[in-house]
Structure formats: C-alpha cells, structure tokens
Symmetry: C2
Subunit: 156 residues, 2 copies
Amino acid sequence: MKKQERKIGVYDLNHTEIEYPEGIKWTRQRKAVYAVLWNATEPMSAVRIYHLVEQESDGEEYAPSTIYRILSAFEEKGLIEKEADMVDGTITYELCRGSHKHYAVCLECKRRIPLQNCPFAHIHLDRETEDFTIIDHKLEVYGYCKDCREVKSAEK
Amino acid sequence: MKKQERKIGVYDLNHTEIEYPEGIKWTRQRKAVYAVLWNATEPMSAVRIYHLVEQESDGEEYAPSTIYRILSAFEEKGLIEKEADMVDGTITYELCRGSHKHYAVCLECKRRIPLQNCPFAHIHLDRETEDFTIIDHKLEVYGYCKDCREVKSAEK
DNA sequence: ATCAGTGCAAACGATTTGCACCTCG
DNA sequence: CGAGGTGCAAATCGTTTGCACTGAT
C-alpha cells in the first residue's frame, strides 16, 4: 500500500535520456514534474502539468500544493520560465531551452507553432519610444494553421 | 506598494462630455463603470475598475458581481475589449476606441505607454509560417521609461 | 408594467499556507 | 542525521451563480 515504492513511468517519447540539472534535490515528485516539462512542446498551466504528472505516473497521487511548490522552486533555480498565455491570461510554465520565444497560435485548433526566427530582430521603434529603453518584447501571431484552413474552406 | 498611483477622475480631464452609446440600459452603476473606462489611459483589471468606481462614487457601494456582469455586458455590446495582460496574465478591460493596440511597458513603474505606430506593419514572416494564415497579432515591448531610467542611474 | 439589472450570499476553481511527517544527500 | 520537501486540510483570492428585489424605459 506504500505508494512510494512504485516506479515512475515517465520517460521521454523519443527514448532520449532526461537530463536532471545538478544543484537541486531530485525527489520522485520533482523528477515527474521535470519529465513532463521536458517532453512538453508548448507552455502549460500548473493544472495541466498536475494532470499530466498524475496520468503519466500510473496511479501515483500528488498533492496540488506540491506541484505549485515544485514549479516555484524550478523557477527560482532558473530551470523553467513562467509566462502568461496571451490569449486567456493563464499562467504557464516552460523549460528553459535556448531559442523560440514566439508562437503562431491557431484560433481553431489552438495549436502553438514555435517561430524560430524572431521577426523583430532587425526592428527599431520610432520617435514615440525614443525615451524608452527596450529590454525585451513579447509577440504572438494569431490565425489559422494549414490543416484548419483547409477544413474551413472544404466546409463551404 | 507605494509606486506612482496615477489618479483617474470620473470626468474627462479635458472636460469632454462622456458619450454613452445607445442601445443599452444606462443604470447608475453602468454609467459609473463606463466613466472609469472612459477616463482610463490603459487596460485595467475588474478589481481595479471596481475599486475606482467605488472611490469615485463617493460613498456609493457596488456589488462586485455587478461590476463583472456590467463588464460582460459591455463586452457583448462591443463597447469594450477584454484582454490578458501579457506580464502577469491579469484579465483587463479597455474601451474600444480606434487605434493603439500595442504598449511599451515599464518594468519599474509598470506604466503602459501606447505605441501609435504598429512596428509589425512592415514585417513579413518567413518560410516557417507560409503555411499559416495570419489574422491578428499581439505585441508588447518591455524596458524602462525615461523617468525610471534616470532614477536608476542616479541611484548608482 | 415589464423584464433586464442589481445586491447579497453562497459556490467555485486555482493557488497558497501552516503544520506534522517523511526523505534525499 | 538534519535540512528541506511533501501531504493534507484549511484559507485566500478573484470570479461566477441563484434568487429575490429594484428600477429604467
């Protein structure tokens, strides 16, 4: 009846080894959360992460508070990034890997397609912001992905 | 939290008459909410709007639920726009006036400076998005406004 | 007079917190 | 073994809902 002795069933879909960064206590719970983030292809809410962790852990149960505390700990350690979903304001979390900060979001299927190249790389703002020192920016593009566009035009 | 709390009066600073659009029942409560939005210079959360309405109404009390219902009603009528704050995900509301959809947000004083010209207007995305039909976009620029930049450099 | 709009209180969902117990290093 | 992580339950916060009453048109 001890839940503790069961093995965690969260492994990378491509059988890639998950790399657990050093300098942090790797408990069973933290590994499970980290694995979910590792395999994620887009930022996810705490609730979604919580469900995925339980789902992947095959019967294991977790306290919601634990998930939130783990996410805070990860964020403090700089392992993950906390961000607000620009559509509905949901707070989301994402593993810090280099690259893509921007997404094209399909209004139909809600899929988030990462943009590799930042269209703002070469942009400079004009007079109205010359009194403003730019540190960072956030951009999201909305529309319809190829699949959904085809479905919509076929419906007519 | 003693930042620079900018005061917003119920009446237009330039003594402009508030125009209440037709086709909607203008109760005392709705007028109060509309006035706050009319005078706002940036999107505000429901809670902030609620506080401002009570503050400006000099003793009058309002049920929080009323504020939320009014905001929903306004949104359905197309009078206001509901959006997520890109920094912390707070849901905000703003009167629909033409123009400025983008802001430069000061990381220090949290002030939101509207950008009149959309820098995205001249941008075209590259191959990775050619299979994506763009309908809209959202952009925010982060950094330090003139005042805060000066304060920060003076501190050193 | 009618029916949408309101106030109130209770319900709600997501997140946080206090405290006793457990476990990784 | 000890600091720190976890589970649980209760608390909090913003927002929503049901219902009886009120008020704009």
